[in-house]
Symmetry: C2
């Protein structure tokens, strides 16, 4: 029986333009009201997760910056800004990236937009700084090593003493793979990347938020 | 004909527990898609308004801190933090208030929770500091004089060259009164304070988000 649902936000409970899906958010609340722990993990920042917590009425802790920070009644920071900031400053100095608006609210990662076709160069440089680069499908992030959605999942499983088969994860993009771990149930909306579809127990008929609403409405089948 | 809708958030497009109303947010998007400018103004902070902008897909500028700051592709700050912070620090020193989580993201206002029945004492002290105190129904705020929802409304009317009768405002609480100005159309959900109902051109049959959805779905009648 599923006791925890951990879902991505962008592309998963939104539409393709990032607008929140009413059907997915209503199904999330129904699942929560039935006694299942519902949590979200995103590359976005703590105050954005504060907004989801407040305005979707989610009770469990939510994770920002790909798992690097957590909000419930208080904020917990699991990683720090030293390495992401050092790498970001170097990339900026080299003219390879521009910052993004949410950087002013970040605690342990930096977001960027590549200036031209420089992704490969950035990836190569990242090794020297011992940082990881991810792309949520909506923006690029510089993270500490080990700061990923799997970290958030392990935190929740330990906190609530859950076995893998009691957990359902939902995601659509490559940065969701670290939470697609052995033994947990995995579901994806139809727009998910092939790499995720290959690992999924269930692929929804619909894409984006409508697909996730479909998944959330048939939780007993997992 | 209504060309601009400016709405409050808490209690107006949410339910009584502050959870966003799907029907209100969907009607807002329909109104926006029909070519009407849709904007929101709240006592909450810029990154919360960033979240509404991104995840509700709203195109017009949105206003945080009761009109004190605005977000579109950039952030504009109309007031500063000097007086609100000085007053907050004094209240804190006197043991009359506790800060709130969103204060770390504020630019020109401070939120607080009164410690005990001290509202009248706070109101009296506020005059010395030349600040204003408001309550959104969900939290208390210290603001600069003139920093209110009417400021946001006047900004939008000037920017888009609108006459009062081309504007509809929607709100439910006392801090919405500054935007209930002469000549603009005014609508309230059924839960609105009496002071707002008295001023309203239309009182919805339903309360909260359902009432605002009702208002937004009959825009042609204003």
């Amino acid at each position: 029986m599923i006791k925890l649902v951990l879902s991505d936000i962008d592309g998963t409970i939104t539409d393709s333009r990032r607008v929140l899906s009413s059907s997915a958010s209503e199904q999330m609340r129904k699942v929560q009201d039935s006694g299942v722990i519902v949590s979200l993990v995103s590359g976005n920042v703590i105050p954005v997760m504060y907004t989801f917590r407040t305005y979707l009425g989610i009770k469990a802790p939510l994770f920002a910056e790909n798992g690097g920070a957590m909000i419930e009644d208080n904020i917990t920071q699991f990683f720090n800004m030293d390495r992401p900031m050092a790498f970001f400053r170097d990339l900026e100095k080299k003219g390879l990236v521009k910052g993004i608006m949410t950087n002013q609210w970040r605690l342990c990662s930096m977001g960027f937009e590549p200036v031209g076709p420089v992704e490969r160069e950035i990836m190569q440089l990242s090794a020297q700084y011992n940082v990881e680069i991810t792309n949520s499908g909506f923006s690029w992030h510089i993270l500490n090593v080990g700061q990923n959605k799997g970290f958030a999942l392990h935190y929740l499983m330990e906190r609530y003493a859950l076995r893998p088969e009691e957990v359902l994860v939902i995601g659509d993009n490559l940065n969701d793979i670290p939470m697609f771990i052995e033994g947990v149930r995995k579901a994806v909306p139809a727009n998910a990347e092939e790499e995720l579809k290959k690992r999924a127990d269930y692929i929804a008929r619909s894409g984006h938020g409508a697909g996730s609403a479909e998944i959330l409405s048939s939780l007993e089948s997992f």
